[in-house]
Amino acid sequence: MADKVLMKGNEAIAESAIIAGCRHYFGYPITPQTEIAAYMAKRMPKIGGTFLQAESEIAAINMVYGVSSAGYRVMTSSSSPGISLKGEGLSYMAGSDLPALVVNVQRGGPGLGGIQPSQSDYFQATKGGAHGDFKMIVLAPSSVQEMAALTVKGFELADKYRMTAMILADGTMGQMMEPVELDFEVKPSPEKPWATNGTKMQRTHNIVNSLSLVPEELERLNFERFERYAIVERDEVMYEEYLMDDAEICIAAFGIAARVAKNAIVKAREKGIKVGMIRPITLWPFPKAPFKKAAEQVKHIISVELSMGQMIEDVKLASECKVPVTLCNRAGGMIPTPEQVLAHIEDIYSGGAK
């Protein structure tokens, strides 16, 4: 077993990316994820890699587009307003079927918003995030260890499905320090016969492209892409169930909200209230099955979120509205307290909640 090291979440992402074989990082400064860039700026030159501070988020994602086109593992990271700027590139990468890892350490919005933690980019991340029909694989870590592990996993999934994998973290996950083990077994990058890395006069030329002016052809590409997405939905769903066996109330929460909710669940259990939790680890593909199953068992689902209620829509869809789903939230950079979540649980338990 490897030694545990104490790391910030942002640093754990950076080091894990290097372990995963990523040697190219492009970014633009924005709080609260700048540690990733700072870490890469220090490490990449020492290991023959590339760190480049781009002139903008738009340029950074397009540099990622270039490296990915050439067939190499590559990443960028940012926080909410910066991810909006990267939207154009994310859509083009989906249209060109290019793999990459993109990290969003979310902060409160909309607009310039604030710099405190948030989960209000859930819609942006899981519903496409830019123009056109496309999906990203969205991974939601709930500990520094998961920040590390999901980074490695993200590169592997991106390569496997030729998609963008996004780590959807938040300011808390990025800034907090926890012990981590970094002894990952990494699946090497697969062969990429489609890469534009020079024909070497041994094959016909490759073209990386998202333009298709014939609608029948563009439609076919969209259907083919969604067949691939269907495989991701079938094979790559990840979630954690916590005390769900006898639960009468189910909490839905991811990331930092799940950590807060766990504290509330422990306290509720001490009071004899049977509460459990389903914690999605992949936000897309969303763990529909466990929520569908839970809806047959529990009387109520509470979605705990650092937003005005975004994941709650997927929870309602997955549970097919068979039981009431209520929102327990803070927004704009505020984090719900265990007491707030406990009060919400008790309210429901006593029949107070609608």
Partner: protein
């Protein structure tokens, strides 16, 4: 005996360009240079959004289609992915390079990114049907400047080579045109140098080609060349705007 053949780096397909458009000539020059330098197998081209958007179909080297204006950033990524093995060029029009992609252009130049940029300046947006470009001349009538470009309303055209020449970064900046045989030969020499600079690791080279757009200028090809001579060249003087190595030699 074949005395005049298609360059090997140019794909054997028909191009979609309008009659009299100079894209065809410039494509051919780029392909001839790739042939002569023997770099087709390691060259990756980046096409823009605009009339040359489908340039990816016209070259036999690997090609990437970039988002509007982002070609220098994409090229930066491709180059840095494997600097010793990749020869990377972008091929961009004036709207792409000097309007929506100006930041990418300026910063790639400032970094002296070791790439080659072929910049087609025909003072108009071609693909979208003839709107005012950042390089449209004062008074020039376009679809979005129907009364002529009014500099008091929408400012002045941008001279890209002159502007970039103020930066420390770039290695080589030259403005050429392809309106006659002599100038075509000069343009080819400049393009070849821009690729050779990259092979030699010298850095950012940009060749601006003052070009025609007979269709959207509303002229015959012959009149377009005349208009270029009389209007474009006085505003966009030909010549070398920066050649760092020449200074050092």
């Amino acid at each position: 005996m074949v005395v005049f053949d298609k360059p090997k780096a140019l794909a054997d397909v028909s191009m979609h360009y309008c009659p009299g458009c100079t894209h065809g000539i410039v494509h051919r020059l780029v392909a001839e240079v790739i042939d002569e330098l023997g770099i087709e197998g390691k060259t990756i081209g980046v096409a823009p959004v605009g009339c040359s958007v489908m340039a990816y179909n016209y070259f036999n080297c690997d090609m990437i289609e970039a988002a509007h204006g982002r070609a220098p950033a994409v090229a930066t990524g491709v180059k840095r992915a494997n600097p010793s093995e990749h020869i990377v060029f972008t091929y961009q029009g004036d709207g792409d390079l000097a309007s929506i992609g100006m930041a990418e252009t300026v910063h790639a130049a400032a970094r002296n990114e070791n790439i080659t940029i072929i910049f087609i300046n025909n003072a108009i947006y071609g693909m979208t049907g003839g709107q005012m470009a950042p390089t449209s001349l004062p008074g020039q009538v376009t679809q979005t400047s129907p009364y002529g470009r009014d500099v008091n309303h929408c400012g002045y055209p941008i001279r890209v080579c002159e502007m970039l020449s103020e930066l420390e970064g770039p290695e080589y900046l030259e403005r050429v045109t392809v309106n006659n045989v002599k100038n075509v030969n000069k343009a080819k020499k400049a393009i070849k140098k821009a690729f050779q600079n990259q092979i030699d690791g010298k850095g950012f080279s940009l060749i601006e080609v003052v070009s025609t757009c007979p269709t959207n200028w509303g002229m015959t090809p012959a009149n377009a060349l005349k208009w270029l001579d009389e209007n474009m060249l006085p505003y966009y003087p030909l010549g070398v705007y920066k050649d760092r190595s020449a200074k050092e030699e």
